[in-house]
């Protein structure tokens, strides 16, 4: 390399082929390094992301059971069939309710929590740690723990209800209640994460605004609605959209808490990923399940576009 450095400085007279070649090599050195460095990463990237995503789109236009050599092209038939499929409609509905309900409930709880904890208090770090604990606990064991809490016969939740004279609730065996049981559990799990994000946002609001408001005699409530909330808007918006996007692929807690429980077999709470999973790997409807997976991608893409729009109009308003 040192020799190349002197070469580029032009001390060696140009002309001979060897020198010119070396010069070209030097000029290509950086791009060459880039491609050599990126090659393994890109190979992996193509194999585990690009190819399957593309392959999935193609597969969704076929009817195929994975075993049979017959694989007829059916065009958009899978998609048309999806919209007449009760299971798919139910899954779509449940997943949408789940996503928006978890996100809204989490925000309603996390925002006041963050506002309170953002004021320096001796107990603040303690609360932060405790509320963050569920975030880092693995999902499956905690789903099992919550399943025990929701247990119809011996669960403490029904015990607490019985203390105030309420009847026992079949938390996980009735799909329409199970949806809310899963939502509640997920809010418990995600609350701390949203809290921390809002705390960062609140810390970034300049202190002068609050001081000015105090001098003008604003009450705490006025300060929250007129100053804190508008300034927190970008982060709030961002967190709302990204967490609803990431909620659309809910699966693990639903699978553990509502599928195949011995007390109520077959009363699974239908969500999109579970429906994709059963269509593909139990009924071997690979093409049909792929169409469903493409729908999931489309929903997520749609929400992302909404987010881009919202963020752009938000920054446009500020400037």
């Amino acid at each position: 390399m040192p020799s190349e450095a002197t070469l580029s400085a032009g001390r060696v007279p140009a002309g001979s082929i060897g020198v010119r070649l070396r010069r070209i090599r030097y000029r290509l050195r950086i791009p060459l390094f880039c491609y050599v460095a990126l090659l393994p990463v890109l190979l992996l990237f193509f194999y585990v992301r690009i190819i399957p995503i593309g392959f999935g789109f193609i597969l969704s236009l076929y009817r195929w059971n994975m075993i049979s050599p017959r694989k007829p092209f059916v065009g958009l038939a899978n998609y048309i069939q999806l919209f007449g499929d009760e299971n798919f409609i139910a899954a779509l509905k449940n997943t949408t309710i789940y996503s928006f309900a978890t996100v809204i409930l989490t925000t309603i709880l996390a925002l006041p929590l963050a506002v309170f904890l953002s004021r320096q208090s001796r107990l603040s770090p303690f609360y932060q740690t405790v509320y963050f604990l569920p975030v880092i606990t693995p999902l499956i064991p905690m789903s099992i723990a919550w399943k025990w809490i929701y247990d119809y016969n011996y669960g403490i939740l029904n015990y607490l209800l019985s203390l105030v004279g309420l009847p026992a609730v079949p938390w996980l065996t009735d799909p329409s209640i199970a949806l809310w049981a899963v939502i509640l559990m997920t809010v418990w799990k995600q609350l701390g994460y949203a809290m921390v994000l809002y705390l960062v946002g609140l810390r970034n609001i300049p202190q002068e605004y609050a001081e000015a408001a105090n001098i003008d005699g604003a009450t705490d409530t006025q300060r929250f609605w007129r100053i804190t909330l508008p300034l927190l808007r970008p982060i709030l918006l961002y967190v709302l959209v990204t967490s609803s996007i990431s909620s659309f692929n809910v699966f693990a807690q639903v699978y553990v808490m509502t599928v195949g429980s011995q007390t109520a077999p077959g009363n699974a709470l239908r969500v999109l990923v579970y429906d994709i999973y059963t269509n593909a790997f139990q009924f071997l409807h690979m093409g049909y399940a792929s169409a469903e997976a493409v729908m999931l991608t489309m929903i997520v893409l749609g929400l992302t576009l909404i987010q881009f729009r919202a963020v752009r109009s938000d920054t446009a308003r500020e400037t």
Binding site: A5, P134, V196
Partner: protein
């Protein structure tokens, strides 16, 4: 007088707020504590109505029973191994690709980086079927490499590293190293990596969590119990022993406690890093 009244009111308000926060904190830890105390109860106490909180005759039978019924040690070791391999791979690929995208100019740079970003939002579950079929073709189903493969790469990690390298690493520093005769790989290892501790830590936490939490992919790909990770092991164990609450709780405790210990040891760092990565999308 007015001032005094207001501070008294404020004090009452504060007390009320702390009461609510404490109650909330109790709700946060209750599921874990309930899991823990149940794991130490003999079956007869678990089926008591009304339930008792503390085990009257604490026993470790649930733990020994759970370990006899399923190889939880194996599951745990597998989870650790998968998560470590995936984390190392994500760290390497993110550092390399992040550096190249962040500090070098070359043809197709914008296109390739855009492609990486565009796939970052597509959920894994949306392309797991074709990926599964690909692995059937190369006969990687039911192998370790098949299980970890999709988690070896993280588009978001590359994005985070690129943002960090592009903004926080001074280009002059790289130039200086180059003048001293350093190669590009050397610069990446000795200049960029040491200056990227925080960003790398954030990517590592994310990658580790993601790999640890995988369920649906091993559910598809791992057939032998010896390949199960903790999450899948617990799930299948749950279906097989759904009436044996004590053992289920014991298995869950084994899976949760190490994570809690790691978290409590590195609490500040983990919370801060997760907050930063959460806001950088």
């Amino acid at each position: 007088m007015v001032v005094g009244k207001r501070t008294r009111l404020q004090r009452i308000g504060h007390l009320a707020a702390h009461t609510v926060l404490m109650a909330g904190a109790l709700v946060m830890v209750m599921p874990m504590i309930w899991m823990l105390v149940t794991a130490f109860k003999p079956p007869a106490e678990i089926a008591l109505w009304p339930p008792v909180f503390w085990p009257r005759q604490p026993t470790t039978a649930n733990f020994t029973g759970a370990f006899q019924a399923a190889p939880f040690g194996r599951f745990f070791a597998n989870s650790v191994a998968y998560a470590v391999v995936c984390t190392l791979s994500v760290l390497t690929t993110s550092l390399v690709a992040g550096t190249v995208f962040g500090k070098y100019r070359f043809p197709l740079r914008g296109f390739l980086f855009g492609l990486v970003l565009a796939t970052a939002i597509v959920p894994f579950e949306a392309y797991m079927i074709p990926l599964y079929l690909q692995l059937v073709q190369v006969e990687w189903i039911n192998t370790v490499q098949g299980i970890v493969l999709p988690y070896l790469f993280m588009a978001f990690g590359i994005f985070l590293m690129r943002q960090h390298v592009a903004s926080a690493i001074p280009t002059e520093l790289m130039e200086a190293a180059r003048v001293d005769g350093a190669g590009e790989w050397w610069i990446m290892r000795r200049v960029i990596a040491p200056l990227s501790g925080n960003a790398l830590a954030a990517v590592a936490i994310l990658a580790f969590n993601q790999a640890w939490a995988m369920l649906i992919w091993p559910l598809l790909v791992a057939n032998d119990q010896s390949l199960f990770n903790m999450e899948l092991g617990l799930t299948t164990f749950q279906f097989a022993f759904s009436n044996d609450t004590g053992k289920l709780m014991a298995g869950s405790v084994v899976s949760v406690v190490p994570m809690l210990i790691v978290f409590l040891l590195m609490r500040r760092r983990i919370i801060e890093n997760m907050a930063l990565t959460g806001l950088k999308g």
